[in-house]
Symmetry: C2
């Protein structure tokens, strides 16, 4: 399983997770017909994206593809189903971030984000273009975050699709706008985290933002470390040192050591009250707990940030309960044993672990997981227990 | 020193640090006359801000005031001395973030940021207004990040000062613009971190961004966790437990414990290659190392991120040396011993520790520190050693 082998040899069993928004969802206000619509959409997009990963599509392309499907679906608050600002306009945001088991691959950028977009059919494709065009030779830049309108000119030059205002207008979002209430936390920001067969991990996130937000409000979706994050690092451990315990026992064993370690990859996407995500840097904080804080798993860290009583909830203090601090996070964690040169140690096909948690009524999510026999099961859920 | 005492009783000796930009500064390209200009400006603003803190001004007001002085000084890349975009326009960014030793004070917002500003004389004052107007009753919002132009309308309504394009035009920045090179890392983004007598810690940061950046490029200055961060938390430790070592010794001491701990506050401001700061969430990462990673001090964490060979430098990989990954961070750390109720334990006047590090040629910085006799010394430096 050395990375010197051709890329066509899969190192990992591909896996993925999607989210379609989190908030004050309740059984009493989610009729079966609406539940079925969400469930059908999420299952369809999960299946299509899983198929792409299984047939060799990269994590970045697969995650972005999943989000384009969600952006075209008016059920979700992104792309076509985006909420309106207080001025009755639509301003969309999106981001991508990537990491890889191959520590020697130095991607020119690890993430890119766009905000304030109007009429761009697929904001997530524009974020991806910004990531993949790192320099003047590609008509791009090294900029990580780009706000409209100039980046829309670039989008036209790069051949991205635009749609008129009417295409984005939906009765449901317009009614929410007319109610003149800021918020609507069950708004359906979307995200997807994918692990591909080569050990690349990617996260893609897209949103219309907050209902009746001020024009120009920037949320967590295009903000590094708030609504999204991806990171990889090595943890090396000297398992035994002759000089160390030889001296301790009074023996002279000479100096020797066995250096072994793991490479860890994490990627997460958040949804909920974006301002709280910003104020606690939710996505980066969860990953920092794993990298620096000795959190045994990403699952534990995600719970400590986005689970009940976690960092996001505590950030709202006495204002908890009216939407502030509410939200959820999805993610994938990968551990790979590496040798002294930092190359993956041979073994069975690697696995990624899908994780999620939320501190509010519900979070729309869909993922695949293996049962005891290694068979992959598709899941769609909104509450903690079954609908 | 209980926080039940009136606010007029100082708990801390006020302290502060300013930065005026970091980059490929060299003795050979920094003539004495220019050095003296920077040195004089920084010392003047340091002294004025220190005086404010000593006479009871809050950390937020003092840090913001320091930055307004730097914004009016064409030496620095912010406000009046801002660099130009590729379109020959000026687009400014600023942010503020606060924390406090009083864990029971739940500020409605902990930070606010603005970007893409034109003609606003003091972007930092607009960031502060956004922080201090948390709701509709104040003509504000709970939004954490606001991009122009709508927030400029608010700035007019709130009475902020605007200046025409000519006021912002400087020969030096225009010449840099005409050279058509993107970058200029010794650009002079500014920041200030202040600790006041009540134990409030505030950070204020302001910039014109990157020379010849694309219009709409968002840097690290208005991005939570990238170019700025402030945070406070409690670390409690059970110093002795009767049930624990009583059982160990075979004695029945009953169950008792002494709960003691510290409250820690950190605040940092960064300057340098903003895109690298974004890609490693530099400010939040440094503070996470202290909070979650057991870094003994903020100084160590700032070195691990912004010092030579640190996280920022490593993020540039093979592209290190042409500006990418270059920069520095300033900050203040505070530790307060607290009792079982979380209230500060009486004792001598508390101290904040000023910290900084950088991985490039130099970083303009000014700070106060106590000598052995408790006398406060003013410092201005640009290189590691004296000029």
């Amino acid at each position: 399983m050395s990375s010197k082998e051709p890329k066509s040899t899969p190192l990992f069993k591909p896996t993925l997770i999607l989210h379609g928004g989190a908030g004050a969802l309740k059984r009493s206000t989610l009729p079966p017909s609406l539940y079925t619509q969400y469930q059908t959409s999420l299952l369809t997009y999960l299946r299509a994206t899983h198929h792409l990963l299984q047939t060799g599509t990269s994590a970045l392309d697969a995650a972005v593809h999943a989000v384009t499907l969600l952006e075209d679906d008016p059920l979700f608050n992104c792309g076509r189903g985006s909420v309106f600002t207080s001025a009755g306009t639509i301003e969309m945001e999106a981001s991508v971030m990537v990491t890889s088991i191959d520590a020697r691959s130095e991607p020119i950028k690890r993430g890119a984000a766009v905000s304030g977009l109007r009429n761009v059919r697929h904001p997530i494709l524009l974020a991806k273009e910004c990531l993949l065009r790192p320099g003047a030779a590609d008509d791009g830049s090294m900029h990580s975050q780009l706000a409209a309108p100039y980046v829309e000119e670039k989008a036209r030059a790069w051949g991205l699709e635009f749609k008129p205002d009417e295409w984005f207008w939906t009765r449901r979002r317009w009614d929410e706008h007319l109610r003149r209430r800021v918020g609507s936390f069950s708004q359906g920001t979307v995200g997807c985290v994918c692990l591909d067969g080569c050990g690349n991990l990617a996260v893609a996130t897209s949103t219309g933002g907050l209902t009746n937000k001020w024009p120009g409000r920037v949320g967590d979706t295009p903000s590094f470390g708030a609504g999204f994050w991806a990171e990889g690092w090595d943890e090396h451990e000297v398992f035994a040192s002759g000089a160390g315990w030889g001296a301790c026992l009074g023996w002279d064993l000479g100096s020797w050591s066995v250096r072994r370690g793991v490479r860890r990859l994490v990627a997460v996407s958040g949804t909920g009250d974006g301002d709280s995500f910003l104020r606690v840097a939710a996505a980066r904080t969860a990953c920092a707990m794993v990298r620096f804080g000795g959190a045994r798993s990403l699952a534990g860290a995600v719970a400590a940030v986005a689970g009940p009583g976690g960092e996001l909830q505590r950030s709202a203090g006495g204002r908890w309960g009216a939407g502030e601090g509410e939200g959820g996070i999805i993610g994938i964690e990968v551990l790979v044993e590496v040798d002294e040169e930092g190359l993956p140690v041979s073994g069975r096909l690697g696995r990624g672990t899908v994780v999620f948690d939320f501190n509010c009524g519900g979070m729309w999510r869909a993922w695949v997981e293996e049962d005891g026999d290694g068979k992959e099961i598709e899941n769609v859920m909104v509450f903690r227990g079954p609908y």
